[in-house]
Subunit: 238 residues, 2 copies
C-alpha cells in the first residue's frame, strides 16, 4: 500500500533429515562454505538454502531439491514443520526460512556432497550433552523439528518411515523407543500396530539362534496412521 515497490524478503528452506543409526536418532548436517562474505563459514548447519523461483515449483519442491543436491537422497517422508522469519536469524538482515522434517531408513543412505563427503555429518540428538552450536538459528530449527517428530511419534505411525522396506515388529518397536527415549510395552505395541492395518505380511527371514520373526512391509499409503490414544502413559507433548 504505502511501499511503492515491495522488495521481497530473502526466503530459504531448511531440512532436518532424521534417521536411526547405531541405536540413536541422528540428524544430517552439512558444512557451510568457507568463502568470503558467507556468514558462519565452515560451521555445521541443516541442509537447505535459498528458494530459486525459476527452478522450485513450490516450497516443498525446494526442500526436495536441496536434499537431493546436498545428500543425493530422496526421503520417503517430508513434511513442513514451521516457518521462522525475523531480523536476527541472519546477520545480513531480515529473512524467512521454511523448516521441513524428513525421515528415512539409514540403509538407504549413500551420502554425497558435490564430491566431498567430508562436508556431511550425522549428529546424534540423544542425550543432553551440549552440542556444538549450529549456524544461523539452526539450533532452534533442530529443536522445533525434534519436538514435532517426538510429538507425532507419540500418537502416529510416523516411525515406519525410519524403517527399511521389510522389518519386524521388534525392530519397529525399538525404533519407537529410540525416538521417544523410553521403553514401550511389547503386547500393547504389537496390538496397536497390527490393529492399524498398516502393514502387509511378507516372508519370514532367517536370523540368529532363535525363533525367526515375522517380517512386514508398509501397505501402499501416503499418510501415517493416527492412533486414538498416545503411546505409553506419558501425556503427549504440547
Amino acid at each position: 500500500m504505502d511501499s511503492p515497490v515491495t522488495r521481497g524478503v530473502p526466503c530459504s528452506v531448511d531440512v532436518a533429515l532424521f534417521t536411526v543409526r547405531d541405536e540413536a536418532l541422528q540428524v544430517l548436517l552439512v558444512r557451510r562454505p568457507a568463502e568470503d562474505g558467507e556468514p558462519f563459514p565452515e560451521r555445521w548447519s541443516l541442509p537447505g538454502g535459498n528458494i530459486d523461483v525459476d527452478r522450485d515449483a513450490d516450497l516443498e519442491a525446494c526442500a526436495s531439491r536441496k536434499l537431493l543436491e546436498e545428500t543425493g537422497v530422496v526421503a520417503p517422508h517430508l513434511e513442513q514443520v514451521a516457518s521462522v522469519g525475523n531480523a536476527l536469524r541472519d546477520p545480513r538482515g531480515w529473512s524467512a526460512t521454511h523448516l521441513y522434517l524428513a525421515l528415512m531408513a539409514s540403509d538407504y543412505l549413500e551420502l554425497r556432497s558435490g564430491g566431498n563427503a567430508a562436508d556431511l555429518h550425522w549428529m546424534s540428538v540423544q542425550g543432553e550433552a551440549p552440542r556444538e552450536a549450529l549456524a544461523f538459528d539452526h539450533d532452534l530449527l533442530l529443536e522445533m523439528a525434534l519436538n514435532r517428530l517426538r510429538a507425532k511419534v507419540e500418537y502416529t505411525s510416523l516411525p515406519v518411515f525410519l524403517m527399511p522396506v521389510d522389518f519386524t515388529l521388534s525392530q519397529l518397536q525399538r525404533t519407537y523407543e529410540i525416538v521417544l527415549g523410553r521403553e514401550l510395552e511389547k503386547k500393547a505395541f504389537r496390538t496397536r500396530i497390527l490393529a492399524a492395518d498398516l502393514l502387509d505380511v511378507v516372508a519370514r527371514k532367517k536370523t540368529g539362534p532363535n525363533r525367526p520373526a515375522q517380517y512386514y512391509r508398509l501397505k501402499r499409503r501416503r499418510e501415517s496412521h493416527i492412533f486414538a490414544r498416545p503411546f505409553g502413559s506419558a501425556p503427549p507433548a504440547g
Copy 2:
C-alpha cells in the same frame, strides 16, 4: 551461490480469524482494494499483507499487526498453521505466504477497517453450500486453517479461546459441537473438561426460568490442554 544477488521473494502473512456467532463458525474476510494494478480488486480475502521488515519483529508480529490494523482486534489465540509458496498463487509471480489461525469470542468484536466497516465481513463456514471464491489462493488457505482448527478441537481445549471471559460448560460444549459439526455426550464432556483442571469457578449468574448454571473462567495458562483421547467416537482427522 550462482545467483550473485539474492533478490528475495514477496513474503506475506494471512490470518484466518474464527469466531462462533449465531450458532455457526464464522471467519473474518476483508475486501481487496479497487485500485488499479492490485490483483483481485474488490474481492473478499483473508486479512493479511506483506511483511514490513522495518516494523515487524517476526512473522507472528506481522500477523498481529495486520489483524489489529484491519480489524482493531487482539485475538487471545494466534498460531502458525503453514506456509504456502509457489509461482501461481499471485498473478504477479512467485510469492510465499504464512498462514495464521486466530480465535476469539464474538462478544469482543468491534470491527473497524480504516473507517470503513463495509470492507469487513463475517462468513459462515458451516454447510457445504458453494461459497464465493476468495482472492488469491485464500480458499485453500481457509481450508487449511479449518482443517487445523477442527483437528485440534478433537483433542485439545482450544475452543476456550472462542468463549467470553465467563461461560458455562453447556456453552463450551455447544461451541465444541458447532466447530466439530456433531453432538457430544454431556457427561463425558463435563468430566473431561473438569478433569483437565483448566477452569476456575466463578459466581453463578442469573439466567432464565431454569436452574442457574455454574460459570467458569480460564485459569492463567497460555497453552491449550491436550486430552489423552479425542472427543467422541470419530477418529481425529489426518
